[in-house]
């Protein structure tokens, strides 16, 4: 608005005196700079939507919509512009379940949310910043290259670079626990062995990157969780970004 007014008045008054016009524009620009400074006081870890949009599959408007979501998530307990683990966990568990999980102090119940948090916390500093949030979510975009989705980070609990039999067993147990089911160790072993037979082609008791890629090719439904179709409708889900938008997408 201010820009337009400046334009109009400068047009009218300084139509014949170019140098004065330049001076006027300079003054207006500086004044506007002062107003814009307020906007720039973002929280730590904030990155400009334009930058993030250029590095991910999201448009600027979508990144702005994601910022809305991020603000909601990061301010629920501590308003420091970062997503902490307990906030992240809250997303997955309904309030009661979350309390129960904490009370039980059972790592198994949070095993998967833990892995998911690690996936987002690229810097491994225990918090998710806005930039990390957007970049990580970009991998879940339906149009993201499959190669990005196939990373076996999620299942590599001990972060050894590959998935070991014990890790797989732990995860199966954790899943059953989550569903309040228990199976005898024999049956769990059976399930795990069967899968390892198919995936561990080198027969070394673990699934490395290469074997994992082959396995996913044969069983594409495994990476279904790495695609969120909701990401295509971000601007519909979080329309309030329009108020603060820096850019209008075409």
């Amino acid at each position: 608005m201010v820009k337009e007014l400046a334009q109009k008045s400068s047009d009218r008054l300084f139509a014949r005196i170019p140098s004065l016009r330049i001076l006027f524009c300079l003054v207006m620009h500086t004044l506007m700079g002062c107003f814009c400074l307020k906007k720039l006081r973002h929280k730590p870890g904030y990155e400009a939507p334009i930058n993030l949009a250029s590095e991910t599959l999201f448009t600027v408007n979508e990144v702005e919509a994601l910022y809305d979501l991020f603000k909601k998530l990061s301010s629920s307990i501590i308003d420091d512009g970062l997503i902490h683990k307990f906030t992240f966990f809250e997303m997955f568990f309904k309030q009661e379940e979350f309390q129960l999980a904490l009370f039980k102090n059972s790592n198994k119940q949070n095993l998967f949310a833990d892995r998911m948090f690690d996936l987002f916390d690229v810097k491994h500093n225990g918090v998710i910043e806005f930039g990390e949030f957007v970049r990580s979510l970009s991998v879940f975009h339906p149009n993201a290259p499959e190669a990005d989705k196939i990373a076996c980070i999620l299942y590599d609990i001990r972060q050894t670079g590959c998935i070991e039999v014990e890790e797989l067993k732990d995860m199966v147990m954790a899943l059953l626990c989550e569903n309040n089911m228990s199976l005898s160790e024999d049956v769990v072993d059976l399930i795990v062995e069967k899968t390892m037979m198919e995936a561990d082609t080198k027969r070394d008791g673990k699934i490395d990157d290469e074997e994992w890629k082959e396995f996913v090719k044969k069983n594409p439904s495994i990476i279904k969780i790495m695609t969120l179709s909701d990401l295509m409708e971000l601007t519909l889900a979080f329309p309030s970004f329009v108020m603060n938008s820096e850019v209008r997408d075409l």
């Binding site: 979501l69 998530l73 997303m91 997955f92 568990f93 309904k94 949070n110 095993l111 998967f112 949310a113 833990d114 892995r115 998911m116 879940f140 999620l154 299942y155 797989l168 995860m171 199966v172 954790a174 899943l175 989550e178 569903n179 089911m181 199976l183 049956v187 059976l190 399930i191 795990v192 069967k194 899968t195 198919e198 995936a199 396995f215 069983n219 439904s221 495994i222 279904k224 969780i225 969120l228 179709s229 909701d230 889900a237």
Partner: protein
């Protein structure tokens, strides 16, 4: 006494019928029922009655793990808590055979006026009541993780998503409660 007219009655009224074109509802591409369709096309064409000797499709450990709530970021985008998003739903069953599960589904579907077609461990439920938007059709499939552990997957076909997600007494939710072991939150 004055009463509200029902939708069925409106549809029969002459003045309503003038120039009325029944809407055609697009099937959302969320669910891919090609494989189920293919099976039933064969079934209908060749009228083969097969013995259910085959086992249900096997499900591996990673597919099982991917059912974890902790790996499903969809929760990020639930504006309201739509607890029963039944576009696609999965449930685990312990110590029940696949055939018993099929039986349970059929039993649950009977009183709710669903027409059930099944071949091996895939089933299609047709809701014959076309009162509201389109037919509410459902495809289910049973997978085997281990002989004592099965997974049932329900996918929605044509129909109104709203109807799909409505109140507890809705027929589809009743079916799901029966054999998905899903608690309504």
């Amino acid at each position: 006494m004055l009463q509200h007219i029902t939708i069925a009655e409106i549809l029969k009224e002459e003045w309503f019928k003038k120039g009325y074109k029944p809407p055609v509802f697009e099937e959302k591409d969320d669910t891919n029922l090609d494989d189920v369709e293919a099976i039933f096309k064969d079934y209908e064409e060749h009228h083969v009655t097969e013995q259910r000797e085959e086992q249900p499709t096997a499900m591996n450990a990673f597919e099982l793990i991917s059912m974890s709530k902790g790996l499903n970021l969809g929760n990020l985008f639930d504006a309201e808590e739509v607890c029963m998003d039944l576009r696609e739903k999965q449930g685990l069953h312990l110590n029940v055979t696949a055939n018993e599960i099929i039986h349970k589904i059929k039993e649950a579907a009977k009183p709710l006026e669903f027409d059930v077609h099944n071949k091996n461990y895939k089933m299609r439920l047709y809701n014959l009541k076309a009162e509201r938007k389109g037919n509410l059709n459902v495809a289910t499939e049973i997978f085997q993780v281990a002989p004592s552990l099965h997974m049932v997957e329900i996918r929605k076909a044509k129909g109104d998503t709203l109807e799909f997600n409505t109140v507890p007494h809705d027929s589809l939710i009743t079916i799901s409660l029966h054999f998905l072991n899903v608690s309504y939150c």
